[in-house]
């Protein structure tokens, strides 16, 4: 049984599935914990920064020249310049380290950089140093692991030490610096490694798990999800410096060259995943077109940048496009949920978590007050949560679809049962009726015939006149019996249906019923004999027969109008009377609103994928309306 379920849905049982998720999330949190603790407990020394902007220049200065150039500018301008760095500007920072520890210290800018950072320092006794960190193509200065700009302030510098930092970065830039001892810094790096180890492990588990599901379910949205997670992993490797540290130590400048391309792939995979998963194309065409625009822009801009055309405005446009895609991520699942896509609920959670984590990251970056020390933990945490929640959303979809399927199956089964019961009941009822006709009418006629013949044979002294009278009576009796037999045979099997078609059969049925029940009738019947097969035609006939029986029995009607129209892909039949419009047995409150004949008619129609409606207007009459699609 379990095996069957697994084959059909590609998923183990619901409970097992929830257990797997709960366990994996708990294990994940446990594995992330040590890295987090170590990374966070390395206490840095915070130095206050002063900053100013100058026009960009790529000149290199000696320490003295740098201080001469920047000094005047920096000390005059107010500190706390925040906001976007304009593309044609570089930013200067200055800071003073007041205490000296006697050992080497590490000054770090906790922000992944795409540009170049220069640093100049001099102590009170005139000793000086100069260093550069950079990832921009075509050069790369990358002395220390990680992608944060880190510089070593020598231990023999005597406080106070004046430090000057010049940042030339593409895109957003505002930060605080941290200064700590080499030991503390190494411990911090170790903690980060642990954290990222767990992070990569978890993301890879999600990736392979969903790859397996994609293979099992043959569902494109799983593949797109896998691609999305893969892009997240690669871009994290680029941004955090772990790729540089462990995967491609000899490659120079890969980060700044390919980061935008990977980010574009991420946008393509993410947006496509969302569109396929939630069926956006069907829900809202404008949104779908917007997503195509974002995808196209992301790919085009990133390709330009990667091929070496790197003007400053291009980076700005790329950031803008990423911003649009974030808005799209946040809006689309909400729209889908509001339009009735129930499984969008986890997607909303997932896609709000990541932008929120990005917002927190930038807020922390600009406020300078760091809650969670290595800043990119915010982003990594956001990504991880997003990955998990999206995976849950995929599982949720299967779950909801399976629930729907089960509900529909249950409904169908109960309908089938009801119809079968109805059919048996009807059959019994009809047999009862036929038995009654055979016994009471035809049997009666034959009995009289038999007695009459016996009389003729027994009384040989009858006069010729009497005999003729008796014979005449017997002949009438025979005709009576014949009429009864004909009616019975027509009811049991509508011979006309096959020979003369539906319209003639229906009109004859109406004519006979009208004669018997004192009913006036009119019919407007399109010729659909060529479009219906025998099963459908006999269903139309039987349903009208049943409706007519109901009218004769219960409706107290004087007119019945039947129409059969050829309406595009289906035939639509209406049987309308002018009776009481009340259901049979209306006085009995326990009686269900639709009588037995109704469920029988409905069952017959729905068995052939048709629809059935019963419209009652008390005092005005009843209309039975149904449609059968052509095959």
């Amino acid at each position: 049984m379990l095996k069957d379920t697994f084959l059909i849905t590609g998923f183990p049982g619901k409970l097992a599935q929830q257990c797997i998720y709960a366990t994996s999330i708990v294990l994940l949190l446990i594995s992330l914990y040590p890295g987090l603790v170590v990374a966070m407990t390395a206490e840095p020394y915070e130095a206050s920064l002063q900053s100013a902007d100058t026009p960009r220049s790529s000149e290199s200065f000696s320490v003295q020249e740098a201080f001469d150039k920047a000094g005047e500018l920096l000390w005059r301008r107010p500190a706390q310049v925040t906001g976007f760095l304009k593309p044609d500007q570089v930013r200067w920072y200055s800071l003073r380290l007041d205490s000296s520890t006697g050992s080497n210290q590490v000054l770090e800018i906790p922000h992944p950089l795409l540009g170049v950072v220069d640093i100049w320092a001099r102590d009170s006794q005139g000793k000086s140093m100069q260093d550069r960190f950079g990832m921009r193509v075509p050069f790369s200065h990358h002395k220390h692991p990680g992608n944060m700009a880190a510089f070593i302030i020598p231990g023999d510098f005597v406080a106070p030490v004046d430090v000057l930092i010049r940042v030339d970065n593409q895109g957003l830039m505002e930060f605080s610096t941290t200064v700590r001892s080499v030991d503390e810094w190494l411990r911090h790096e170790q903690g980060l490694n642990l954290f990222y180890g767990a992070f990569y492990g978890a993301m890879l588990v999600l990736l392979f798990y969903n790859l397996f599901l994609a293979w099992g379910l043959k569902d494109a949205s799983y593949l797109l999800y896998v691609l999305f997670v893969a892009c997240l992993l690669v871009s994290t490797s680029l941004l955090s410096g772990f790729g540089k540290q462990f995967l491609w130590p000899d490659q120079v400048g890969i980060e700044s060259r390919y980061l935008f391309l990977v980010s574009a792939c991420n946008t393509v995979a993410g947006l496509s995943f969302l569109n396929v998963f939630l069926g956006i194309r069907k829900i809202s065409r404008p949104l779908w077109l917007i997503s195509l625009g974002i995808i196209g822009a992301a790919l085009g801009l990133a390709l330009l940048y990667t091929l070496g055309y790197q003007p400053d405005w291009l980076a700005g446009l790329i950031y803008l496009n990423i911003f649009f895609s974030l808005i799209y991520y946040m809006v689309v699942p909400v729209v889908a949920y509001l339009r009735g896509v129930r499984y969008a609920r986890f997607a909303i959670l997932a896609l709000w978590v990541y932008p929120i984590s990005v917002l927190l990251y930038f807020w922390q970056l600009f406020s300078g007050e760091y809650w969670l020390r290595p800043l990119h933990l915010w982003m990594a945490g956001g990504m991880l949560l997003e990955g998990i929640l999206l995976s849950l959303a995929l599982a949720d979809k299967i779950n909801l679809l399976r629930q729907d399927k089960q509900r529909i199956e249950r409904q169908a089964a109960s309908q089938r049962r009801q119809f079968a019961r109805g059919l048996i009941h009807t059959q019994e009822r009809e047999r009862e009726k036929f038995a009654a006709v055979l016994h009471d009418s035809i049997g009666h006629d034959l009995l009289i015939l038999k007695h009459g013949l016996k009389n003729l044979a027994g009384w040989s002294d009858n006069s010729q006149v009497t005999n003729r009278e008796i014979l005449h009576r017997l002949q009438e009796q025979c005709e009576n019996a014949l009429v009864n037999v004909r009616q019975l045979s027509q009811q049991m099997h509508p011979h006309m249906l096959k020979r003369l078609g539906l319209s003639a059969a229906i009109e004859t049925m109406l004519e006979n019923a009208a004669n018997a029940g004192g009913l006036e009738w009119a019919a407007d019947l399109d010729d659909v004999d060529d479009k219906l097969d025998m099963e459908q035609a006999s269903t139309v006939y039987r349903v009208i027969q049943e409706a007519l029986n109901n009218i004769l029995k219960h409706a107290q009607a004087s007119e019945v109008l039947v129409s059969m129209r050829d309406r595009g892909p289906q035939v639509v039949v209406s049987i309308k009377d002018d009776g009481t419009g009340l259901p049979p047995h209306a006085k009995n409150k326990n009686w269900p609103s639709s009588g037995f004949g109704t469920s029988n008619m409905k069952g017959r129609v729905e068995l052939l994928s048709g629809w059935f409606r019963l419209i009652r207007t008390p005092g005005e009459g009843t209309e039975v309306r149904f449609g059968l699609p052509y095959r």
Binding site: M496, R499, E507, E520, A522, D524, K576, D577
Partner: protein
């Protein structure tokens, strides 16, 4: 039409799946001097083949037969040949069968409980080129309602109220619905309908509604004119 004389009796084929009935019918019609029964068929296929091969002058056809029913045989015969005279001899007395047979240009329609005299009368009339239909069918049911191509004629026959009722009948409404629509009583609607039917020579609301639907356009035009001149 060929006339049959005693010198050359009509060649007759009898198609029916009941042997006793075939024999009985054969006895009845062979007594007639102008008739010679040349073949019998016990199902539709056999009847069709024999008709094509023997080319009889007259065929007695049953409707309910195995393989192929009588109407289908008649349809196939009429595809190529209108000269062979065909008399339907059946137990179906429903109007619809008769209508279909008439469409297929049947020459005679008899019911199996018709008397020997009626069979002979039918035989003679058909052989003389006429058409004979069993007297069990009432003549009035055969009347086909006439179409009014000229609206003015219709307008001169019916009152304004009756025309309104007729146009609602054309829209397939019940008397109750018409009564509500025109804000008059149910009885009044029924009276109107009765009068219309009598004036137009129609029987029952089926014929009335068929007539109304056939003249729907004319009625709508009339209505439009009314409201146009009224407003």
């Amino acid at each position: 039409m060929t006339q049959f004389h005693s010198s050359s009796p009509a060649r007759v084929l009898i198609a029916d799946d009941h042997p006793v009935f075939r024999q009985g019918l054969r006895l009845v019609i062979e007594a007639h001097p102008l008739v010679e029964v040349v073949a019998e068929a016990e199902n539709g296929e056999s009847a069709l083949v024999q008709i094509r091969y023997l080319n009889p002058d007259l065929v007695f056809l049953d409707i309910a037969m195995p393989d192929r029913d009588g109407l289908s045989v008649l349809e196939h015969v009429r595809e190529s040949d209108n000269a062979t005279r065909v008399i339907m001899m059946t137990s179906y007395h429903e109007q619809a069968y008769l209508n279909r047979a008439m469409e297929l240009k049947v020459n005679g329609y008899l019911l199996k409980d018709d008397s020997r005299d009626e069979i002979i009368q039918c035989l003679e009339q058909v052989l003389q080129g006429g058409t004979y239909i069993s007297p069990s069918f009432s003549q009035s049911s055969l009347c086909i309602p006439r179409d009014f191509s000229d609206i003015r004629e219709l307008k001169s026959l019916l009152t304004e109220k009756e025309l309104k009722v007729l146009s609602l009948v054309a829209r397939f409404m019940t008397s109750k619905e018409i009564a509500r629509e025109l804000n008059i009583s149910y009885r009044t609607v029924q009276n109107h309908r009765l009068h219309i039917s009598r004036k137009l020579g129609l029987r029952g609301i089926h014929q009335l509604s068929r007539f109304a639907r056939r003249n729907l356009q004319a009625l709508q035009q009339l209505e439009a004119n009314e409201t146009g001149s009224g407003g």
